[in-house]
Symmetry: C2
Subunit: 246 residues, 2 copies
DNA sequence: CGCTAAATTGAGGTAGTTCAACCAAAGTGG
DNA sequence: CCACTTTGGTTGAACTACCTCAATTTAGCG
């Protein structure tokens, strides 16, 4: 296989967590021209109102999409890890209706819209797969809405931790039930519609109940079953290829 | 034009609110085989876990997608009006991760997945347009997340009313600033993550402030500018073709 | 007219917020 | 390698936006 851009393997790994890829499709992905970039933490990649002409692949690191209210309150809309293309929607929605930024130092790879369009033209199944990816994105939004709108803080946090664990596991960044969780409590709060203070207290509850342990950035899930129950977590909405037997 | 299924005009009108359609594309849409159905209010069309083989076009009426928590709390995820295909995502996500139901008596038209796939195959631009539609869907989810997570009840309700007005206007179901709003306060609450009682009180506030009047199902926007301000409403996220000069 | 669903009101409670302080860990520059 | 600074985590206390429950009124409809 003529791998010109090995960074694309992150993308391939992620897409394969969603659907199988043919050899020729992988080869075509690897031939995608990339513009590489290394960024610090807390850097904006795109801002609301921007009109991008390329998409951003997260090769390594942690990114999030977010919106800021007129009163300066931030809502994080999604987290993104290795293999994700958080702004894939910009292929068909010209103007960004939200911002995209890094949470930790990250490696990014930018792909021209034109190159993606011609890739999908020559490989329609990849086009469907990208569409499917944006649909899964939307499914996660829906699940977050349920959490923010109708679940207690305790349940919400448990749910998010479950989701992160499963997503990281799907791209093999997890060994056993231990994750590197590079997200501050303030960021968790912004994602869940909670204050930092309350996130802190609920995390203590989760620890007190023996569901997790949290030292520095290391999250260890001590009781996966009870954490799933607490968060009412059912991974079906992630539409992964192999239902993870966690 | 060989209009076999005039119900499709609702779909065409809606798609044209998003992007222009070629004559041949409209003709192809009109040739789509439809299975028509008339339903009462509060009927489930699809339930979580279902594996549909057709999509549901709302010809007339009002539908919503929703999820129910283990504790029996409902979160409404989206409202759908004439021309919408609320379960378009089922083309690529086999298992429903939420339910779909009517809010009032409605006319529905079901389209086989196969027919949609071959339509998109022969008219790739329509495929892109459907994709775009699901992306706008996701943009609305994002906006709702911001509201539920970070805005006050007052602001949230104002925002939702703005959104409904603009969406109805885009498919020409609104004259001036008066809408038929066939949604109960309980349903508004389920959409916004609020209790019925609180929705009621905030609606009174909005009336007291002279922003709206609400008699029965008739919503009249008395002060569009102040309602927009109250809801921090910017229609950009709806990605409509013509930015409505409301 | 009677029935039912929806809207409205009151009162009391609580899950979450805000503010402000303090502590701990992790860099960073000298 | 240590003092210094910064960032993130933790705690307490006061507050409030919103919830729950339960009753009452109003509106729609056969």
């Amino acid at each position: 296989m003529d791998a010109i851009h090995p960074q694309t393997t992150a993308l391939i790994r992620k897409l394969e967590s969603i659907a199988p890829l043919a050899l020729e499709e992988k080869a075509a992905l690897l031939r995608l021209p990339l513009r590489l970039k290394t960024t610090a933490a807390d850097q904006d990649i795109l801002r609301e109102g921007d009109v991008p002409s390329e998409c951003c692949l997260v090769v390594e690191g942690f990114a999030c999409r977010y919106n800021v209210t007129a009163q300066g309150k931030r809502q994080i809309l999604s987290f993104h890890i290795s293999g994700d293309i958080p702004d894939l929607q910009s292929l068909h929605l010209k103007v960004m209706d939200h911002s995209l930024g890094t949470l930790i130092p990250s490696k990014l790879a930018f792909i021209q819209h034109d190159d993606l369009h011609s890739l999908m033209h020559s490989h329609p199944r990849l086009g469907d797969l990208f569409w499917r990816d944006t649909l899964i994105d939307a499914a996660v939004f829906r699940q977050w809405m349920v959490g923010i709108g109708r679940r207690s803080a305790y349940s919400r946090i448990a749910h998010l931790l479950c989701e992160l664990l499963v997503k990281l596991r799907a791209v093999e960044l997890v060994e056993d039930h231990v994750v590197n969780l590079p997200v501050t409590q303030a960021e968790l709060g912004d994602a869940l519609g909670l204050s930092t203070v309350h996130v802190n207290r609920v995390l203590q509850d989760l620890r007190g109940a023996g569901l997790i342990s949290l030292h520095g950035k290391t999250l260890r899930v001590l009781d996966w079953d009870r954490l799933k129950t607490a968060g009412e977590f059912d991974p079906a909405y992630l539409h992964l290829r192999k239902r993870d037997a966690l």
